[in-house]
């Protein structure tokens, strides 16, 4: 019984509540939010060390015995995701100081971020399927606030659709949980895993598995359910976009990985085959989108879709290297998408447009921006030794080991398209004749550049130092591949 794993959920919540009291004092808001984030990050690091040395941590709220009370479970993958989401939030908040504007800061911008982190970290940590729905709602509600904050026409127009899609998918989530409850009679995820193992292969379980794929697929933007993503994500200002792009889809992806490794392992021939086919089509659809647009935001947004496909392909293989690669790629993608969005945010700020055809020649006046963008783009495509390489290598290795030759070749080919789409931004925006109409003051430029470059440096470290991360990642993969580790940890005190 240790409450440590609740801190990354509770600290943002507490600070969000505190921040609500003095919305107009911008300086105080900025300081308080950063203190809160650093405290949460510290607690997440302590938790990481604890999980590494002592294994999976669980706490059952109110000390009810596990299948009855709500269990919170922190295994390696959830603590890694919690850690990286807090890291991204720190960089986004740092970037927001200069970028978001005082009007939004006075309108509960920082509390909304903290509430969203509560939801995200809670969804990563919870061990109860209905509680996951509740945390999803917490993060969605705050994301509604963030996407509409500022009230520009395009934001209002797009947020209506975003909210509508999410309301429908939340209803589907509850329906699916209802079906699952009627089959297994429990909501505790570890207990569901044991009960479903006893039931074995049956039609209704497969139906529920596919329903869960639809529910989390809408949040995680898989084909054909990503239709809402490009429009909605391009509406809010860049820091919000960075936060959404780095975190929100990953929650859906995490939920798919969790449910498909913990619950639905009885009919792998159908469910995981379906997941694999969908992930490949997702990659293709993302590639088409990434090449089709001249809008920098859209290009990177479609790269989210591609990454979701790669991660889910690794998870659908269900072998050691595939799962390991998938986790590597998941964390890499959180960091690199954050970095890329922050960088193109600066580009948009300088040029005053997000249309590539109206940009050009930034390299002469902004070399640091150009080179760090190039590094981030190479990292995104997975050029060794940068951060995307290890994950993709392991995913493809896993694919070849199981004989999925064509699918793996598709992923290799998609890397080239990712590289092309990211380099297209580089060529259009940084090379050529200077077309800059806007200029920003050197001070603003420096303040925007600092968090973005630090984040890029962090992704480089992630790639170069992946050797040291392997023990953590393989712990995470072990828990995902062997559900008994998870269930034993939850029921340790009971049986």
């Amino acid at each position: 019984m240790i409450n440590l794993l609740l801190f990354p959920v509770l600290i943002p919540f507490l600070f969000a509540a505190i921040l609500l009291f003095f919305p107009k004092k911008v300086k105080a808001q900025r300081i308080t939010v950063m203190i809160g984030l650093l405290l949460a990050l510290a607690s997440a690091i302590v938790l990481l060390i604890k999980v590494k040395t002592d294994g999976v941590q669980t706490v059952t709220l109110g000390s009810w015995a596990p299948p009855f009370g709500i269990t919170m479970v922190s295994d390696m993958i959830s603590v890694l995701l919690v850690l990286s989401s807090l890291l991204i939030a720190i960089f986004v908040v740092w970037y927001s100081y200069t970028s978001i504007g005082e009007d939004r800061e006075k309108a509960f911008y920082y509390p909304a971020i903290m509430f969203m982190l509560t939801g995200v970290n809670g969804a990563f940590t919870t061990g109860d399927i209905f509680n996951m729905f509740v945390f999803f709602e917490v993060l969605l509600m705050s994301s509604y606030v963030l996407i509409v904050l500022g009230g520009e026409k395009v934001q209002l127009r797009e947020s209506i659709k975003y909210i509508l899609v999410n309301i429908v998918s939340s209803s589907l989530f509850v329906i699916t949980v209802g079906y699952l409850y009627s089959v297994v009679g429990t909501l505790n995820m570890a207990d569901i895993s044991i009960k479903l193992e006893e039931i074995g292969q049956s039609g209704i379980v497969t139906v529920i598995a596919v329903l869960f794929l639809i529910v989390f697929g809408i949040k995680g933007a898989i084909f054909p359910l990503f239709f809402w993503l490009p429009g909605s994500y391009s509406a809010p200002p860049v820091p919000v976009l960075a936060l959404f792009g780095a975190l929100l889809t990953k929650v859906g992806v995490y939920a798919i990985m969790r449910t498909y490794s913990l619950f639905f392992t009885t009919d792998v021939g159908f469910t995981h085959e379906l997941l694999m086919v969908i992930s490949i089509i997702t990659i293709v659809a993302g590639c088409i989108g990434a090449l089709a647009y001249f809008d920098v935001k859209q290009i990177i947004i479609y790269n989210i879709v591609i990454a979701v496909g790669v991660i889910l392909f690794g998870a659908s293989i269900m072998n050691d290297s595939g799962m390991l690669g998938s986790i590597f790629y998941l964390i890499h993608d959180i960091l690199i998408k954050g970095a890329l969005f922050l960088l193109i945010g600066i580009v948009i700020k300088i040029t005053g447009t997000s249309d590539l055809r109206k940009m050009g020649g930034l390299m002469r006046r902004y070399p640091v921006l150009g080179w760090s963008y190039l590094v981030a783009a190479f990292g995104l495509a997975g050029i060794p030794p940068l951060s995307g390489f290890v994950g993709k290598l392991l995913v493809i290795q896993g694919g070849f080991e199981e004989g999925h030759i064509w699918q793996s070749v598709f992923i290799l080919a998609s890397s080239l398209i990712v590289l092309l789409s990211a380099i297209r931004i580089f060529i259009y925006a940084f090379w050529g004749a200077e077309k800059v109409v806007h200029t920003i003051s050197p001070k603003t430029y420096r303040h925007l550049l600092a968090p973005a470059v630090t984040l890029v440096a962090l992704t480089v470290l992630y790639g170069v130092g992946s050797e040291y991360l392997v023990p953590f990642m393989s712990d995470a993969a072990t828990v995902l591949l062997d559900p008994s580790v998870y269930t034993d940890a939850v029921f340790r005190g009971v049986k």
């Binding site: 509740v134 009230g151 127009r157 209506i160 509508l164 429908v168 209803s171 209802g178």
Partner: protein, 113 residues
Amino acid sequence: MEILMSILIGFLFMAAIYLILSRSLLRIIIGTGLLSHGTHLLLLTMGGLSGKAAPVLAEGITDYVDPLPQALILTAIVISFGVTAFSLVLAYRTYKELGTDNMDLMKGTEDND
């Protein structure tokens, strides 16, 4: 009883989807409200409709209803209440800013910005 409930739930979903597919923003929001009502009824039905007494432990009561779906519905109702309230406010603000509640005019294409 379960069959009757299923038909009712299906009817609610049908009405909800019809309303969500319409053009007017207000109808869409009413549709999402109906959708969540259907969902809550479905949760109740999924727990099984057997049991005679309320789930309060007292002397002589052995046949009581499953309390868990009720707890879930309570949570889900609160959430859907909050979301509906938010989307109503948003719809009002959108109407004031954009001057329309017709979804056809909110497509966000180039000639319709």
